[in-house]
């Protein structure tokens, strides 16, 4: 399956679909958290999930590398097809899925070990035996952190500033060269300068990786994303179930949304 994806910058990105995610129902125990989210994520694009708190955008993102498996009572009706394989098929090992679909979290979460070992962590997990120094340097350069840490690779990852820690986490995630990078509000704990650096970085990373990002910051989605999915909360059946209202190229979502909900949310009509 392939979908023509229009990038915001105007040039048409004829990317083939890397992830085809279709969540018809997602439960945590008896609680129906998300329904009707269907996105096709093209190779080499950035896809943003936006929407109010509790709309299930993080939950939807965490479906893409089976992080939700850790939550008790998690059940999914639907499929997430990655490179032609449903990652929720019985025979699939979620651990292996996560090695191909990396994740950057809301709070920077480096391990309590040296900067070098943080970046080398994933490589060592995968049993990488080659030249470790080069791979670590390459990852740190890709994360635009190398110049700031090259003289103190042995000091703790926790000694860095918040923005540096987040870039370290990005370096750690891309060191193993995953196909997809999921970012769950990666800038929400950072100041505007650090945020700007991460956004610049995402544009660089896009050349090599496919990125899906959850963000509260509408401007950020506008700045970085090719495609944007707008999720909203449905309270009509008594619960709080998130669902997807609209999924379209970012320019279209922001300039000419089809749905009234999207229009209202983006213009700040919802308080």
């Amino acid at each position: 399956m392939s979908a023509a994806i229009v990038s915001t910058s105007g040039n048409v990105n004829q990317g083939d679909t890397l992830i085809d995610c279709n969540i018809s129902e997602l439960h945590y125990g008896k609680f129906k958290a998300v329904r009707d989210v269907a996105v096709k994520i093209g190779r080499g694009t950035i896809t943003a999930f936006i929407g109010p708190s509790g709309c299930g955008k993080s939950t939807a993102l965490r479906c893409l590398n089976r992080m939700n498996d850790l939550v008790r009572g998690f059940r999914l009706k639907g499929h997430v097809i990655f490179r032609g394989q449903d990652i929720y098929a019985d025979k699939i090992d979620p651990v292996a899925v996560r090695r191909h679909i990396g994740m950057v979290f809301q709070q920077p979460n480096p391990f309590a070990m040296s900067i070098f070992r943080n970046v080398a962590f994933g490589l060592r997990l995968n049993g990488y035996k080659g030249e470790m120094e080069n791979r670590v340097e390459e990852a740190l350069r890709s994360a635009a952190l190398w110049d700031e840490v090259k003289d103190k690779l042995k000091s703790s990852g926790l000694s860095l500033s918040g923005g540096q820690q987040q870039r370290l986490c990005i370096a750690r995630a891309i060191a193993t060269e995953p196909a997809v990078l999921l970012m769950d509000e990666p800038c929400s704990a950072l100041d505007p300068i650090a945020t700007h650096r991460i956004e610049e970085l995402m544009h660089e990373l896009k050349k090599k990786y496919t990125i899906a990002i959850v963000t509260h910051n509408l401007q950020q989605a506008k700045r970085v994303a090719d495609m944007t999915a707008f999720l909203y909360v449905d309270t009509s059946q008594g619960g709080r179930t998130g669902y997807m209202v609209e999924y379209a190229p970012t320019a279209q979502i922001f300039e000419n949304p089809k749905e009234q909900y999207t229009k209202d949310y983006l213009s700040g009509e919802f308080s």
């Binding site: 070990m113 962590f121 994933g122």
Partner: protein, 313 residues
């Protein structure tokens, strides 16, 4: 203070400037001073017995300390000289056995109750049992090891003493390790899982290294307590007037039969000699007590510096 609001500019509110000053006439300042004094006084009161015991120990113990104390066997009644070299070796061996048993069991158990089996009924039961066992009278640990090791193997031995001490160390190690593991931020766990680490890799590569200083502290606490225990050893290792092995180095045990016989320990030597009517033996008990305390102190320093060096890496 007559304060009128509304039409008066904020600057003109009357403030009693005296109320801003530090003064014992102010109830809040007075209360604060009194409480500060009380905490200081309580600290000193708590230190008096601690330091007087230490002072007495050093004063009485140092007199009998000489090279022979470390190299010679315990003196018989009415004789001069002698030492407690075999008791030092015995204590080290028994405590080492206890550590080898209790550290893996305690740490692995803690991993289960804090991580893999958290919220399970087994974990809750084990945790409850461990809490109860921290209050176990140490003599019962001795009776337990007597029944399970001494009776089964047919005699008093160093491993029997080690088993008794291990039983005392286990709950402390398990509960402190559990706390240390639970203190590892869940986002580090999440990061490792997100990297594609298996549950075992999450534990061995992230959780244990991060929790290591805390786990080590628990081990040191347990060790310090166990090294000074007398009652559980009376039923298990008993005492010996002889070296564990006839051969150097240090007369450490080299064969199974070296281990499987009554073994001297500092704690039991102190117990035996402190009640003795002979001055030489009483002096020896004081010196042995000083060495025991020093030994625990040294172990603590080593543990502390390991965890500090580890934290810096």
């Amino acid at each position: 203070m007559a304060v009128t609001r509304g039409n008066v500019p904020a600057d003109n509110f009357a403030i009693d400037l005296g109320s801003l000053e530090h003064s014992l006439r102010q109830p809040r300042s007075l209360f604060s001073y009194v409480m500060s004094f009380l905490t200081g006084a309580a600290t000193i009161a708590a230190m008096v017995p601690l330091f007087s015991v230490l002072y007495l120990l050093i004063e009485r113990g140092i007199a009998g300390l000489n090279w022979a104390a470390f190299t010679d066997l315990p003196p018989a009644a009415m004789t001069e000289g002698g030492g407690f070299g075999n008791a030092i070796v015995g204590t080290l061996v028994i405590v080492a056995i206890a550590t080898v048993i209790s550290v893996p069991l305690g740490t692995l158990g803690a991993i289960y109750i804090a991580d893999f089996g958290a919220d399970s009924k087994i974990a809750a039961a084990v945790q409850f049992a461990a809490k109860v066992l921290t209050g176990l009278p140490s003599i019962l640990a001795g009776v337990f090891a007597f029944a399970t090791v001494v009776v089964v193997t047919g005699g008093f031995s160093a491993p029997a003493g080690g088993a008794a001490l291990a039983l005392l160390m286990l709950p402390t190690i398990m509960l402190t390790a559990e706390e240390a593991i639970k203190r590892v931020p869940s986002r580090m766990r999440e990061a490792a899982i997100g990297m594609g680490a298996t549950p075992t890799q999450v534990v061995t590569k992230v959780i244990l290294p991060t929790a290591f200083p805390g786990i080590l502290t628990g081990i040191m606490l347990a060790l310090a307590r166990a090294a000074g225990e007398t009652a559980p050893l009376l039923f298990t290792s008993l005492f010996s007037e002889f070296w564990m092995s006839r051969t150097q180095p240090l007369f450490f045990p080299k064969t199974v039969s070296d281990l499987m016989k009554p073994t001297a320990s500092l704690a039991v030597l102190i117990y035996n000699f402190s009640g003795s009517p002979f001055e030489n033996q009483i002096a020896m008990a004081w010196s042995a007590a000083l060495i025991l305390v020093t030994l625990v102190l040294v172990l603590n320093f080593i543990g502390h510096s390991i965890s500090k060096r580890y934290a810096n890496h």
